[in-house]
């Protein structure tokens, strides 16, 4: 058997695990590991400019590929800088393994230089964490970390590694386990058949059904089965912000996103439904509006791999704990079996009336059509997303930051495939989009990648433009430039009588053209609508260049629909600045 040092075992374990990229930043506590990585030279390492970006890049990579993202940071500030990115991944159930350096074992607890209790700091935002005490434990611990991160409901796992156990002069027998068994960890492998049978009956008995699918369908690779079930039944489907792409966005049966900024027809259909099939979704407060008024006439079937997500905010009538693939497969089989026995299921007449109603909603208050803004001379933000959609044939990976631009992208880019829409839904982390796009572009160099952002968000990790130069990640940044923190401004318009407390930059913004050019990238400024499509096409035609498209938009535009809160239900929405349901 081979003898390796602790540092070498880590490098080899990552190689044996099939890791494609490590995103990280060196420092004192991890120098032995970096030296081992340098010498073995097997797994490419991406040097970011700030550890937060390492976690977001690994996260973007994980969301796009389905494989765990890998991060390597040093102790102390390296570890704490990674915390926001770990929390981002945790909230959205993204598989990630974060290796953090730690001071030498004998110094732990002595407030040593660059010491921080990373296991303690990260505890509420990780699926699990380890502090490795002996070098011999490294391979098995790393295997466990990948196993826990990727299985069940995925999430980030921190492995904290004291410097002394990675020292080069102490060698140990290396063996990387094929698999691990953890007696206290066994995520559900399949759903309860009796419950699935009941669910099939309830679904087929529905007169006003809705399928409400979330990010779990994407994480659990269940999109194909979701489409099969929905199309077999001809039931309408709505996706959460995290679930966009789980059901094809351009399909007739798709009602659009639901929730706070959801489509009118999606929220209305939910509110008036009699049966909701929730799959891999968690009845988040941004979906439900006031929980006590949520969908008063609906029976709820809830499928999730995480039992704690079921009946957390809204009680499920038929809870089913299990992986989305096996549960949906069994559910489709049960539905088919029922339909073979009784061809009258589901009630075609009732379903026809339901679709008529939905089409009426869709026609009356569908998304923005431009009619209210004919007088505006500015480019509307919605038009920018539509232009991006055309330029990329609706087939790009789109990352976003957080704010109005995120909602416009979610509403107007019709995602037809899972994993194409990459945003920080749960934590709402500004600064996510640019590093996430780096991770996506590294994973898929031949596919168009766009980062939709705003001046606020982009400045939160703009230092990564330098990383993009170093590793040549030619994605496109679409900046919706309104010179405000747009979503903050929208709330201030609606709830604070237009007092813009700290939501403007007062002419302090950089010249983004000069800024991106200084990193070797290309900048394009768009101020007129007639230039928009050409600029977008020009940007995507530059295959080997990162292009920053700075589009000056109408600063007064708000995102609609918008749930009326507090005390509103799913159906209570602002439809524009002066129309409401």
């Amino acid at each position: 058997m081979e003898l390796l040092s602790g540092g070498e075992m880590i490098a080899r374990a990552l190689e044996d695990e099939g890791v494609e990229y490590i995103f990280g930043y060196p420092g004192g506590a991890v120098l032995h590991i970096y030296d081992a990585l340098f010498k073995s030279n097997k797994v490419p390492h991406i040097l970011v400019r700030h550890e937060q970006a390492a976690t977001h890049a690994a996260d973007g990579y994980a969301r796009a590929t389905g494989k765990p993202g890998v991060v390597l940071v040093t102790s102390g500030p390296g570890a704490t800088n990674a915390v926001t990115g770990i929390a981002t991944a945790y909230m959205d159930s993204i598989p990630m393994v974060v290796l953090s350096g730690q001071v030498q074992s004998h110094l732990i607890g002595e407030d040593a230089f660059q010491e921080t209790d990373m296991v303690g700091i990260s505890r509420p935002i990780v699926k699990h964490s380890f502090q490795v005490r002996k070098a011999e434990d490294l391979p098995a611990t790393i295997k466990k970390a990948f196993h826990i991160a990727a299985s069940g409901r995925p999430g980030p796992v921190v492995v904290d590694i004291p410097k002394d156990i990675t020292r080069p002069d102490e060698k140990f027998e290396y063996h990387y386990p094929e698999s691990v068994k953890i007696r206290s960890y066994s995520p559900a492998q399949r759903g309860h058949t009796g419950q699935i049978k009941k669910a099939a009956r309830m679904l087929l008995g529905a007169k006003r059904p809705v399928i409400y699918a979330g990010g779990g369908v994407i994480q659990g690779e269940g999109s194909d089965l979701l489409v099969e079930l929905a199309q077999q039944l001809n039931y309408p489907v709505t996706n959460t912000l995290m679930g966009l792409g789980a059901y094809p966005g351009s399909d007739r049966q798709f009602l659009g996103m639901l929730g706070m900024h959801g489509f009118y027809e999606a929220n209305m259909a939910m509110h008036h439904s009699d049966v909701i099939l929730a799959v891999g979704a968690r009845f988040d407060d941004r979906v439900t509006n006031t929980v006590s008024k949520f969908c008063p006439g609906a029976k709820i079937v809830h499928i999730d791999v995480d039992p704690a997500s079921i009946s957390k905010t809204v009680a499920a009538d038929i809870p089913i704990v299990g992986p989305v693939t096996s549960v949906l497969r069994e559910l489709i089989d049960q539905v088919s079996a029922h339909q073979e026995k009784d061809a009258e299921l589901p009630d075609a007449a009732a379903l026809g009336r339901w679709w008529d109603q939905i089409e009426e909603w869709r026609a009356s208050h569908g998304l923005w059509t431009g009619r209210r803004y004919a007088e505006s001379e500015s480019i509307m933000p919605q038009q920018v997303i539509e232009s991006l959609y055309r330029a990329t044939n609706g087939d790009a990976y789109v990352t976003s930051d957080v704010g109005q631009h995120q909602m416009f992208a979610a509403q107007y880019y019709k995602f037809d495939k899972p994993r194409r829409w990459i945003n920080s839904g749960g934590l709402g982390t500004m600064g996510f989009g640019l590093p996430a796009a780096m991770g996506v572009k590294l994973a898929f160099p031949d596919i168009d990648v766009a980062c939709v952002t705003g001046e606020g968000s982009i400045q939160m990790n703009i230092q990564e433009l330098s990383t993009c130069t170093q590793y040549n990640t030619p994605f496109k940044i679409i900046n919706l430039r309104n010179n405000y923190l747009g979503m903050v401004k929208q709330w201030q318009d609606m709830q604070y009588e237009g007092r813009y407390a700290m939501s403007t930059y007062e002419d302090s913004l950089p010249d983004f053209m000069k800024l991106v050019e200084s990193f070797g990238h290309v900048g394009i400024e768009v101020r007129k609508l007639e230039d928009l499509d050409a600029a977008m096409e020009e940007a995507f035609a530059m295959k080997d260049k990162l292009v920053f498209v700075d589009v000056f938009i109408d600063p007064m535009e708000h995102v609609y629909p918008m749930h009326i809160a507090p005390n509103g239900s799913m159906k209570d929405m602002w439809l524009s600045k002066n129309e409401r349901t």
Partner: protein
């Protein structure tokens, strides 16, 4: 409603903080907490009492089960069970109070485990209610110090919480 949840967990550093952290993180209450190793040195047994409606308790047990270090758990209050809390209580024992404290201790089947010229230290075991009653029964006697172990519990009959 008051519940007694008993947890078998890995005897690993950090396991206890994960369990306790869950309660503060999600706004649940811990009323008592008791943890020690078991006959299997790789496992510890943690027993806690908490209160909440059925929905809250369901969430608590689901989230506890999600903690990777938690091997198994049981809500003892769902079935017949035995619970014990241990109290050491130091009271001033002077003059007439000295006899009175002794009598009350006997009534509660407690033991005086340390005697000083002015103080008694009494040991008492039982349900939390019984210990509360004893404290109330001390009446006018001056209580100097109270220390309680927190509830430990076990199911009645054949049922066991083990691997």
């Amino acid at each position: 409603m008051r519940r007694i949840i008993s947890i078998l967990m890995e005897n690993e550093p950090g396991a206890l903080s994960r369990v306790v952290g869950l309660f503060s993180q999600r706004g649940y209450n811990i009323e008592t907490l008791n943890v020690a190793a078991t006959e299997d040195p790789t496992l510890s047994r943690l027993t806690l009492t908490t209160a909440g409606d059925d929905k809250t308790i369901e969430q608590i047990t689901k989230h506890l089960n999600k903690i990777v270090d938690v091997v198994k758990l049981v809500d003892l209050t769902e079935g017949a069970h035995i619970e014990r809390d241990l109290m050491l209580i130091k009271v001033r024992a002077q003059g007439v109070a000295r006899d009175e404290v002794k009598r009350t201790t006997d009534i509660f089947r407690g033991q005086i485990v340390d005697v000083g010229p002015n103080v008694y230290t009494i040991q008492l075991t039982g349900t939390s209610d019984k210990l509360d009653s004893f404290v109330a029964a001390m009446g006018d006697a001056t209580i100097l110090e109270v220390v309680r172990s927190g509830v430990a519990g076990i199911a009645r009959g054949e049922k066991v919480l083990s691997l």
